[in-house]
Amino acid sequence: MNTLIDQPPNAAPLRHGFRFEGSGGEYFKIWIVNLALSIATLGIFSAWAKVRSKRYFYGNTYIGEHNFDYHANPLRILVGRVIALTLLLGYSATNHFMPVMTFVWIVFFLFAMPWLLNASLRFNARNSSYRNIRFNFVGTYGGAFQAYVLWSLLAVITLLTTYPLARRARDQYNINNHTFGGKAFHAEIPGWLMYKAYLLGGLLFLCGIVIVICVLLGATLAGLDVKSADPKQPLTMLPMMLVIGVSYMFVLLFLTAFVGTRIFNLALNNTVLADKLRFESSLSALRMGWLVTSNLALTLITLGLYYPWARVRVARYTSENLAVIGASDLDGFSSELFAGQGAIGEEVANFFDVDVGL
């Protein structure tokens, strides 16, 4: 648009990085005030609080000079919450009191899940925008049933050996059914790379176990009886189990973040928008693992007060490592590509278009 000379048609693609402009301190104030309002209204305001939080993170995420935006109507989120809470309470009550009924619930969830999932994804997509253009989600019940239910069942039947492929089916379903300004996203993730991500996670888990065993063994060999019950300094079963439980929690979080980040990279690096724009994610899985575990530790130590900073930290690190790769003049390019008929988001959301989830 503002270029002095015409760009040659085959200009080298440029990297347009994401960035996050929010700050922990600013978000803390928003978070605590909205939390207090949610408490004062016995949770009803939490739908409004959620929209404000989401708007803060979307609105502070930029590519170039433009930010993302979130437009959801909190009332719809409230409806979704009530549905989710009812299901949750119903499920946990039957689970405790009538374990036999649990089977009925599982069947119900299997068949309702694709529908609930599509409703949520559609709601979220339609309420997200970038540069005045809305996203949309066009997944079908059949597609979701195949990607989420059938693939998961196959993974169970094959004793989880096909789990990485099931995860790929889910991610591809999610990405390939999103559109931006009527133009489709497309992802094709190589299966063997999915296996590699999970195998690395598994290896890391084994390393963790070996380290713990070595420490315990070393302590025993060094003459420290780990099980000793010295009356002055009792080291009994329960605190011991708590220590093991807490470390297990941290290891689990680290591993989930590690594998999740690798898969996120894989998915994004293999995604194309409108056949022209590529994405690049260069997140370090180890760094992300450290980020989330240290966030958990700090959040626990500060009795939850660190939570807003934790979220901003993750958002900033993620943004710093994301980029769109495409036309050197993204501005002019987007104006041309995302304009006209295809850009009309479906304005009238149907009644069941709700964000089902807490």
Partner: protein, 333 residues
């Protein structure tokens, strides 16, 4: 105010300025061309949030965005109540105190009250069903048939009936079940339907009838006060309430809620145990006997399980208070 005008349903935009004149919003390009002219009542402005860019949505799918938040506030006559609250340190401080107080009140009164109410309103048939399921599960993993002679069993059943006749559920309000439990050791527990399970191991440890009566008194209290059902409700209530109020199901939020939830539940559990001890002591005294019997049995159990008389010293992590403390309380009253 200066900003960017986005054409209807398009990512195309130009630098522009917006001004309100007589109830109409006029957006003009840098070259002076009029881009849009819309009555103010059909303009929707996004609410002010932090230092974020502000967006004005126009009816045709066009929009105007600007960093000039103050100008938008003047145009919309105010920045909105939420932004004013979020921007006041005084409100932030009050919110912090309120959140802290609410969390404390929720833990101290909210959960016990709600779980208590739910437990009292649980139909007996549900309690019976739960109890049967629990016992069936325990039978299959940890319990074996009792090796106690029929005569001894009959003796203890008579003791329980005698004790139960003094309570609200009456002589036949409880059912005594004997189990051999090498994996659990000397212990006793109550199920919501009034079933009281005692292990062969605790019977072996008992020196006189007063001691087992103390145990019965303790377990009967658990049944009468529906402690078992309350624990079930507590376990579901805590995470559900945290998720509903904070609206957070992020991984961090979920993980961060696990530990406080567990600590809270062991605290409630210790309160229940103390309550049951107090009830047992009351019943024993009512029969002209001493709670000393239960106190010394607890100490013997502790010695058997932990190898020491002064308890396993688990403090605020344990589901039961310290044995030394329990014994002292039983003797002290």
């Amino acid at each position: 105010m200066q900003g960017r005008y986005f054409f209807p349903l398009s990512a195309r935009h130009v630098e522009a300025s917006a001004a309100v004149n007589g109830g109409t919003l006029a957006i003009t390009g840098m070259d002076g061309a009029l881009l849009a002219s819309i009555p103010m009542k059909s303009v929707r402005a996004s609410s002010r949030l932090g230092g974020m860019r502000r967006r004005l949505d126009l009816p045709d799918g066009d929009s105007f965005d600007t960093t000039d938040n103050d100008a938008v506030d003047r145009m919309m006559r105010g920045s909105g109540i939420l932004h004013r609250l979020e921007n006041s340190w005084r409100v932030v401080l009050v919110s912090l105190v309120l959140a802290g107080l609410a969390a404390t009140a929720f833990a101290l009164y909210g959960v016990p009250a709600a779980a208590g109410w739910l437990a009292r309103h649980t139909p007996p048939s549900v309690a019976t069903y739960t109890a049967q399921q629990t016992l069936a599960t325990l039978d299959s993993i940890a319990l074996k048939d009792s090796r106690l002679s029929a005569a001894r069993q009959k003796h203890y059943r008579a003791l329980l009936a005698q004790l139960a006749a003094r309570g609200p559920r009456g002589k036949d309000g409880y059912r005594l079940a004997f189990r051999h439990a090498p994996a659990i050791g000397p212990n006793a527990f109550a199920l919501p339907d009034g079933t009281i399970v005692v292990t062969d191991e605790i019977i072996a440890l008992v020196k006189n009838d007063d001691e087992i009566e103390g145990v019965f008194g303790h377990e009967m209290s658990h049944v009468e006060r529906a402690h078992g059902l309350q624990r079930v409700y507590q376990a579901s209530l805590i995470p559900a309430a945290i998720a509903f109020v904070t609206g957070d199901v992020s991984q961090l939020g979920q993980f961060a809620a696990i530990l406080p939830g567990l600590l809270l539940q062991s605290a409630y559990s210790r309160d229940f145990e103390q309550e049951a001890d107090d009830d047992s002591a009351r019943v024993m005294r009512g029969m002209g006997k001493s709670p000393e019997a239960l106190a010394s049995l607890l100490e013997r159990m502790e010695k058997k399980i932990c190898g020491r008389k002064d308890g396993c010293a688990v403090g605020w992590l344990g589901s039961h208070p310290d044995t030394a403390q329990r014994a002292a309380r039983l003797r002290g009253r």
